[in-house]
Amino acid sequence: MKRRKSVRRLMRFGLSYLVLVVVTLLVSLPILWLVITSLKKEIEYLSYPIKILPRSPQWGNYVKAVMLVPFGKYAARSFLLGVTFTTLAVCTSAMSGFGFARLEAPGKDRLFMVVIALLIVPGIVMTIPQFIVFSRLGLTDTYWPWVLWGLAASPFHIFMFRQFFTTIPRELEDAAEVDGCGMQRLFWQIFMPNSKPVIATSAIFNFSWVWGDYFTPLIYLSDAKTTLAVKLSTAYLDPKGNPLITTTLAACVIYCLPLVALFFLGQRHILRGVVTTGLKG
């Protein structure tokens, strides 16, 4: 009896591992194939029958990826937009989160309901009218919208900060208040320095959003001012106008690296952030 049970258990575990390994292969295959293909000659990519591995890895594709177009310029733009937006959005979201978590005021509960409702409202419904207003104000094809969005905080991040701040013990702020410490100082000098994990999570989410965002720069920015995401959405071309797929793929690999690095650095915090907000990275 006991033996049969353990055999069944072994089988169940065996099945589990089988599924895990198969899923691992399926999930990593597109990434592996992207990297492998980025190391092929264009002619190898186009060959029939299919060649799985390049004869010799073409590291030159990576050099061409950054030399053929002003890759650095586009990357710098994405980076600066990301950093500007992230810095502002983290500060304003944390401030609002602090307000909702730690201060009392008439109307607070109703306003918090608004924050929660904004988590469910389809974002696209707000994006387009906003675009129409910004274009009337002449703010399209400038980077100001990112500054304004940063200043306006984000409901997801407000929610995340609020959840975190409610876990900080009350005694801390009572003590600070008795000491005559103002709310601003309480927030900047006591709450913020004690909130590094949630700040890191929020910063990574915000930065990843701007760096990966394709739609916003597509509609807001002209070709001359656009970001890396939009640039990489179309294939590189050789002087005759033929697409250079493998070089484009090499550029894509470079483009992914900062986000992958950020993910590995802040993994534990990010996964916790996903759980609190339901937000994807």
Partner: protein, 323 residues
Amino acid sequence: MVAVSALARPIAGWRLVRRRRARRTLAFYAFIAPWLLGFVVLTVVPLILGFLTSLTNYDGLNLASLRFLGLANYRRILSDADARFALGRTLLWSAINTPLWLVCSFTLALILNQEVRGRGLFRTLYYLPSVIPAVAAVWAWKIILDRNYGLINGLLSVFQPGTAIPWLSEYALYGVTAIALWSGLGSGMVIFLAGLQGIPEELIEAARIDGAGTGRIFRHITIPLMTPVIFFQLVMALISSFQQFVIPLLLTTSGAQGAVTPRSVYLYMIHTYRQLFTYQRFGYGVALLWVLFVVVMALTVLVFRSASYWVYYEALAEEGRGR
């Protein structure tokens, strides 16, 4: 300490409390001012202006010849065959994508919730695709699904020379589903896993002592306790799949110049996007968006209503108390 002094000197204490309360109210509004201001200026005002736009023939430039059309733009949607087709496609895509994603990410979470070795490693690996930005993800999948040079058709050609299944045109719905599933699997799994780990160990232990098998424990403990999480995930998945259009859009832009979105993934938002940015029909485009909004909200309300039949509320209340 404040409490003690308030007891000792009641009147002065009360004044102190009131002053403190006023100060806190002021502080609250000072702290949320950036968001509140942003909400009014960047959300409420554009929403109102957007609604007004949908009642006109605005195209981005024609302020001089702007005409009030009443509900004509909305009536036009009813007779727009493409819009109806696109809405049908979106419903179909959501009906495939949402359950598939829920089942796959829940199953993975269940497996990883066992005492398997290397759990952290698998979790990291499965989440990794969520980190890859859409543009790169679509490229990675294009070279797998491409009709002539893709990996799948290439491998199939080994057995059946000349296989050229159009994964990115006629069968693009499957292609887009694969990409969306691949990038969404990790975050779904992480949320389910957190939910599973919140199920009290004692409950399962007690059931096992009472002689319940794995299947019964799953049906009578795991599933009911997980219904609030499943509910949350279902709502989020529905809302995001109705807004999906970046993947189909990218599939075409990264292809040949001037390619159009294949009919099989001509989703509602693709239609709206074309009205807005290809034809500059802002009035009509915003009307289409409002219809989408109403459809999504109606579905959300429906799901919320259905919750009382299948979501185990005691678990919700429990969680609420935990917070």
